[in-house]
């Protein structure tokens, strides 16, 4: 029963079996590839292509008038990748990951696939855990792919500009990868959570995007006027994500040298703990609701 050719594959745990099943259907889902491709394209455009054009033409980059060309070039160097690579993650990348999570869980209610998978026997918790495990694998792959793409872009630019290639510090790289995984992981879990609560991919994506792209920013804006509100806005998911990216040196938008969503409100430690906390809460609540709910 335990040989490699065993057709029952009974050596697998229910959770592993479910995760393999979910990975197969996510891997073959064009929507997943479209979202990953859009994110990588956005990352490449905003972190390298536009900055490089700005550097070559001598004009200021978007939102960054007056940035000296040398600073632009330094941001595009290989050793700057750990600092730069999370810049697009708190808001735009996070929004895409939220859509991924929301579609992955919300669609199953309309298609009736949650019902079908619940009838296969691993148990509801394992079934949903498999989905979360597969999403985690997608997030980890996207974070690594983003890092590799940024390194490649930096090396191409260094080659074209005749600059020496300075490799990023391994510790910084590991920190940046961890931060990226935490930011994307939290937003993906948030999407999965909203998808389960609304049972509708459209509603989940809509509400999730309104929250992450509009409501949080509006609240942070109002918090300057309403005393006391900043205690709330300082601990919102987007604040934590933006602060972690900011703490790595991605730069605050206010500095004129960073992407929207990157903040310097919290330090790295509290931001990371807060992100992990949100991730755990989203995962636990979504799992509990999906396991206990009547599937009609």
């Amino acid at each position: 029963m335990t040989t490699m050719t065993d057709t029952s594959q009974s050596g697998l745990s229910p959770l592993t079996g479910s995760a393999r099943a979910e990975l197969l259907r996510l891997r073959k889902w064009p929507a997943v590839w479209i979202m990953v491709a859009v994110w990588l394209l956005l990352d490449l455009l905003f972190a390298y292509v536009f900055n490089y054009v700005a550097y070559r033409t001598g004009s200021g980059p978007f939102g960054g008038d007056g940035v000296p060309p040398d600073a632009l070039l330094a941001d595009m160097a290989a050793d700057a990748v750990p600092r730069i690579f999370t810049a697009g993650m708190p808001m735009f990348g996070g929004a895409i990951m939220l859509i991924l999570g929301a579609l992955a869980t919300g669609s199953g209610y309309g298609w009736g696939t949650w019902k079908t998978t619940a009838l296969q026997g691993p148990g509801r918790i394992s079934t949903f855990g498999g989905t979360l495990g597969a999403l985690a694998a997608v997030v980890a792959s996207v974070v690594v792919a983003t890092f590799v793409l940024n390194l490649a872009a930096a090396m191409v630019i260094a080659g074209v500009e005749g600059q020496p290639i300075t490799w990023p510090n391994a510790g910084e790289a590991a920190q940046a990868l961890g931060a990226g995984a935490l930011i994307f992981g939290m937003w993906t879990a948030a999407g999965a959570f909203v998808g389960v609560l609304t049972r509708s991919p459209a509603l989940a994506v809509g509400l999730g995007l309104v929250w992450s792209m509009a409501v949080e920013n509006l609240l942070r804006g109002v918090s300057g006027i309403l005393p006391g509100l900043e205690y709330v806005t300082d601990v919102l998911p987007g604040t934590a994500a933006g602060s972690l990216a900011g703490a790595l040196g991605a730069g605050d938008q206010a500095d004129g040298d960073g992407a929207p969503g990157v903040l310097t409100i919290l330090d790295a430690g509290p931001a990371a703990v807060l992100l992990a906390g949100y991730l755990v809460v989203f995962v636990l609540v979504a799992t509990t609701v999906s396991a206990r709910r009547d599937l009609t």
Partner: protein, 318 residues
């Protein structure tokens, strides 16, 4: 209960047992005190009109929804327990699959959930005659093909019990005949099948026992022949009032009933036909037709549902 004990339990008693199973949605009682049993190796037909509570009952048996009251046992386990669900193949209220995946990939996903190898997928596709279209996207399937894929999914891993909710829904007549043949073949292999249907002829054709549900209540549970009752005599003679009088005289006052076409049904077996004809002739009636007739399940169904609605649920064979 150990696996061996559970298995022994299954073999000696029943595959599915429910005891006063009930599901309420607010004030509405969708399933009301349903107590039924499915025995090993039989095809059990769950019969009732749309909205009678068939699907809700099946959902409770599979753990998709929680009962509001009562208990159920499936293969010796509580409903929805992984050990029970793993040995049940089910299709509930239409097939739910990933539209962007092919039929084959959809089954591969479900096989992985069941921790089975991919070769079970091909076997299942072949059994429902979808092998050639297995690589087409599910979203391009016709209603009947989707339904067949749902049944193929239920067959993955040769489960001990199949629970099929309206399995012939959306199939053309040839597809329906194939599906019924498949179900009979599965039962022949020793698999137990519980199927719901609103099609009386279908249940009549393939089921060993039936449970009739109406308005959420199980109003009869027995073999098809028991529910249908013994064969009767059908007599058409003129004048009709004389024919009825003779029928009542021979069979008893409660045994004769005038049908819509002025024929008379008498609760007597075929051996009484000569006596009835003789009596009719002696009474001066012209006899046009005499034959034995079995009530169709359809007639029985309307009779007992009408009785149930009238609040006279007693006296129906159980």
């Amino acid at each position: 209960m150990t696996a061996a004990a559970a298995s022994l339990w299954d073999m000696t008693t029943t595959i599915v047992t429910t005891d006063r199973l009930t599901k309420r949605y607010g004030d509405h009682v969708a399933v009301d005190d349903v107590s039924l049993t499915v025995r090993p190796g039989e095809v059990y037909g769950f019969l009732g009109p749309n909205g009678a509570g068939k699907t809700t009952t099946l959902r409770m048996l599979l753990g998709l929804i929680r009962p509001s009251g009562g208990t159920a046992t499936v293969l010796g386990h509580p409903p929805g327990a992984p050990a029970a669900v793993a040995e049940v193949g089910a299709l509930i209220e239409g097939p739910g699959f990933y539209p962007y995946l092919s039929g084959r990939d959809n089954l591969r996903v479900m096989a992985r959930y069941r921790r089975l190898g991919d070769e079970t997928v091909d076997t299942a596709l072949t059994r429902v005659d979808l092998h050639d279209r297995g690589d087409d996207a599910f979203s391009t399937y016709s209603l009947g093909m989707k339904q067949r894929l749902g049944v193929a999914c239920a067959l993955l891993g040769d489960p001990e019990l199949l629970i099929l909710d309206e399995p012939t829904n959306g199939l053309d007549p040839a597809g329906m005949a194939d599906m019924r043949a498949l179900i009979v073949a599965l039962a022949g292999q020793g698999q137990s099948v519980m199927l719901s249907s609103h099609m009386l002829s279908e249940v009549e054709e393939i089921c060993d026992r039936v449970g009739v549900i109406s308005g959420g209540r199980l109003i009869a549970e027995s073999t098809v022949s028991d529910i249908r009752g013994a064969s009767t005599l059908y007599v058409r003679a003129e004048p009709a009032d004389v024919a009825l009088a003779v029928a009542m005289q021979v069979g008893g006052d409660d045994a004769a009933r005038v049908l819509d076409d002025n024929g008379v049904r008498i609760e007597l077996d075929a051996g009484s036909a000569p006596q009835v004809v003789r009596a009719l002739v002696q009474a001066g009636a012209d006899v046009y037709e005499v034959r034995t007739s079995e009530r169709s399940l359809e007639e029985v169904f309307f009779e007992i549902t009408a009785e149930s609605i009238a609040g006279t649920t007693q006296g129906v064979s159980r």
